[in-house]
Symmetry: C2
Amino acid sequence: MTTDKIASLKRLLDPKKIAIIGASNAKEKVGGIVFRRLLASRRRLFAVNPNEIAIEGHKVYSNIALLPDKIDLAVITIGAAAAVKAVKACIQKKIPNYILVAGGFGEVGSQGRELEEKLKTLAQQHKINILGPNSLGIFLPNENIDTIFVEHGDQALDRKGKVACIVQSGSVGVEALGYAANTGYGMRAFVGLGNKCDLDEIDFLHYFAQDEKTNCLGFYLENIEKGRQFLEIAKQTTKEKPVVVLKAGRTHTAASAVTSHTGKLAGSDKVISGALKQFGIQRVYDDEAFCDATKVLSMLGDAPGDRVAVLTAAGGYGVMCTDFVEKKKTRAGLRMAKLSRQAKTIIKEATFPFTACDNPVDITASATDDMFSQSLDALIQDDGVDIIICIAFFAPPGITENLIDIIAKKIQKTPKPIIVFTKYGPFTDTCIKDFFYAGVVAYPSIRRAVRAARFLVERKQIKHRLLREEAQS
Amino acid sequence: MTTDKIASLKRLLDPKKIAIIGASNAKEKVGGIVFRRLLASRRRLFAVNPNEIAIEGHKVYSNIALLPDKIDLAVITIGAAAAVKAVKACIQKKIPNYILVAGGFGEVGSQGRELEEKLKTLAQQHKINILGPNSLGIFLPNENIDTIFVEHGDQALDRKGKVACIVQSGSVGVEALGYAANTGYGMRAFVGLGNKCDLDEIDFLHYFAQDEKTNCLGFYLENIEKGRQFLEIAKQTTKEKPVVVLKAGRTHTAASAVTSHTGKLAGSDKVISGALKQFGIQRVYDDEAFCDATKVLSMLGDAPGDRVAVLTAAGGYGVMCTDFVEKKKTRAGLRMAKLSRQAKTIIKEATFPFTACDNPVDITASATDDMFSQSLDALIQDDGVDIIICIAFFAPPGITENLIDIIAKKIQKTPKPIIVFTKYGPFTDTCIKDFFYAGVVAYPSIRRAVRAARFLVERKQIKHRLLREEAQS
C-alpha cells in the first residue's frame, strides 16, 4: 500500500473536517444520531440538509456546493439513490473520503446493484475512498470519532485499546461491540465494511498493520474476495501482530479451491481453514471467541510454552480446569505443568502443610489474599510453568477484592501470561470489568479461560513457524 | 427406598419445626445468617445458644435439653467438635434430621476424620439423617426454606422451579447458583452434600425421583462411592425425568474399572463416561453446561427429532448458527431441516420476496415483530422441523421487546422445542431473564443455544433406547 493511500485512509479515520450529508434535527433519524455523536469528537462539522437551518446551534448548509474546501470526510446518511447523487456533488468539492450508511444497494436486487456499480465507478475514476454502502460506520474511541448510528455501549470501552476490529456484518458487529463492552475490551478501531464497493478488508489490513496504536487485528468476514492477497499481507502482518479471523460458513460452503487464478478465498471450509492456518491467521467460529481471542492476544504477551499451572481456592473448579487443559483435539495443545520442588515448598509454607500442590494448586477456602499472592509468586518464579490460570473467587472469607490489584501488579512485573477465571454471582460482569481496568484478562467460564491460553500458545507457534520459514528461505 | 425414609427426608427438606444450634445475634456469624434466613420461612424456629437471651425477638434456649419435642430438623452451625456433642444431645430429644454446616472434619486430617467417623456411627446407631458435615445447606425456593450461609442471589430464582440440584462442592455449587440466578433458573431444591458422612447422592436421587415437584435432577459430584447403585437408580429415574451429572476429573483419574465388587464408580474417565451414558445419564463437564442443560431439560419437552430450523433477522448469526448445528463429533447429532415448500411460501408472503428461506431463514434487519411471528408459525407447522432456534435481536427498528411475548405464547401452544439466542449489549442478562419469566429458554451465545438443542436430542435418544431395552427384556 502506498504512503499516499495510508495518508488518505488516515484522513478517513482521523478527519479534521467532516461533512454530514442529511444531518437532521430529528433525533431518531440516522442523520440526527450521527451528527450528535460526532459533536463529541470536537472536529469541525458541516451539516448539509436543504430542510434545516440549524442543528444544535450549528449552521446547516442547504447544498453540498456551498460547503467550504478541504473537507476530509463526508458521512452520507441519506437513502441509496440520493446518496449516489450526493457523492457526485461532493466529488466536485474534492472531498476524498466517504462513509455510506444507507442500505438499499447490492443487497436488495438489480436496481440496488446498479446504484452500487455507479459508486464503484465513481471511486475508481476519481480516486476517492468509499466505505460501504450499507456500512455500520467507524468508531475510534481514542480519537473520539464515532459515526455508528445504533446503540453500542461504548462507555465501557477502554480509551487506550489496541484491537482493530474490521467487520462485514452490521448486526453481528454491533452486538459483539456491546458484548465486549459489558466486560471491558480495549478497542483501537471498529470499522463496518458493509457492501465493500470500494474499501475492503485488504485496505484496513494494510492500514492497521502499520498503525502504531494497533497491536492486534480482528476481522469478521462473510466473503473474502481477494483471498490470496489477503493471506499474503496477513502473513506479513502476523509476524508482528496477531490477526484473528471470524469466518462463518465453515461446513456447508460450495466446494471449490483457493485458486491463485481468481484469487478468491472460497471453497470447502477445510481448505479455507488450512489456508488461514498456513498464513498464520488465527481462526474463530463465533463472536464470543472473536472477542475472547482479540482481548487476550492484545493484552498479554506470547506464551513461552504450553505448560499451565492452575491456582485456586475452590478445589472443584481446579479439577474442572484441569479437565479442560488436558482436553485433546483442540486448537493448540496444553499440558499441566509439573511444579518444581521449590515452588511446592514455598506454597506449603505460605499456606497450609496439607495444601494440594500437584497442580492444580488448591489453597482451599481458608486461603487469604496474602496466601494467594505468595502462591502466585511461586508459580511465576517456577521455570517449569509457562502460563498461569488463576481461579479468583471472593466467597472465601480471607479473600477480598484486593485480589484484583494483587494479580494486576504481578502481571505488570512478569512476561508470563496470567489469565483469570472468575465468577461473582450477579456481579460477575462488573468484576471482570474491574479486572480489565486493572489490566487483567478475566473470563466468566473455565472453558473460555483455558481457550484463551490456547490462543496464546497458538500465537506463539505461528510466530515460531513463520520465523523458521523465513530463516530457511 | 422405603416410604419411611422418604417421609423422614421430607421432614428434612420441608420441616415444620427447626432448631438452630448456635443461632446468634452476630449478623456475620454462620449461626446469625442461617437464623435470619430461616425467619423468612415462617416455620417455627428454636434458637439454641448459652450466650444469648433473644435474637430478633425470638426466645433463645440456653441448652438443647430444654428444647420442646417433635422438632423435625436441627441446623448445627457451631464448630466441628462442639457439633458432634450437639448431635448427641439432640438425639436425646429424638430429633430425626441434621444439617451440619461446619468444616474441620474429614477434609482436614486425622483428628477431623475421627470426628466424622463418630457422626457416621451416630447416624447408623440412631437411624437419624445427617447432611454434611461441611454442607453448604439446603435451599428450596418453593418452600421458603434456606439454610445457605453464603450470598447466593436467590431473588432471581423462579419460585416454581422444577430442577433439583445436588452438589458436593460448596464453592462450585454457590457460584453455579448465582450464575443461574443471573439469567433466570427454575430451582426446586438445592442440596449441599458436603462430606457425605451419612446422606449422599443416592438418598436425594431416590427422594427427588419420586418428588412430584421435580422434573429434572442435576448432580455435581466429585466422587461416587456406590457407583453401581447410583447408576441403577438413575436408570429407573431417567425413564421419567432427565438426570444430569457434572463429574470433573475426566482426564487424569487413576485407571481402574467400574466394578460391582466395590461398587465404586471410579476409573478411567472413558469408563465413567461409558457407564453414565449406558445408564441414561447426561454428563456435562463444567458448571455452565450444568446450568444450561438442567434449564433446558426442565423447561422444554423432548425433541421429536434432530432437524433444526434457524430463524434470524441477522444474517451473519444465521450462518454461524448453521456452522454449530452441523458440527460433527459432539454430544448428539443435529441436522439443518429442509423446509417444506408451504413453509417457504408462507414466510416469503409474510416477509419479503427475497427472503432467504433455505434455512437459516434470514428475514433481514427490515423485519418486524409480525413478520417474525408469522415466520415462526410457518416453522412450527412444518412437519420437517423438530427444533427451532430463534435468533432474537432488538437492533432492527421493526423488532420490539414484544417479541419476547410473541415467542412465549407460541411455546405455550406447541410441543416443539423453541430455543432462543439473544444478545442485547449491556442488557443481555436482563433480557434473558425476561425471556425466562415468560417461560422461554434463552442463551447469550450461539454455541450454548445449539448445545441446548443437543441436550434435548440426547434426552430423546436416551428415553428411546431405555424403552426399547425394556420392550426387549
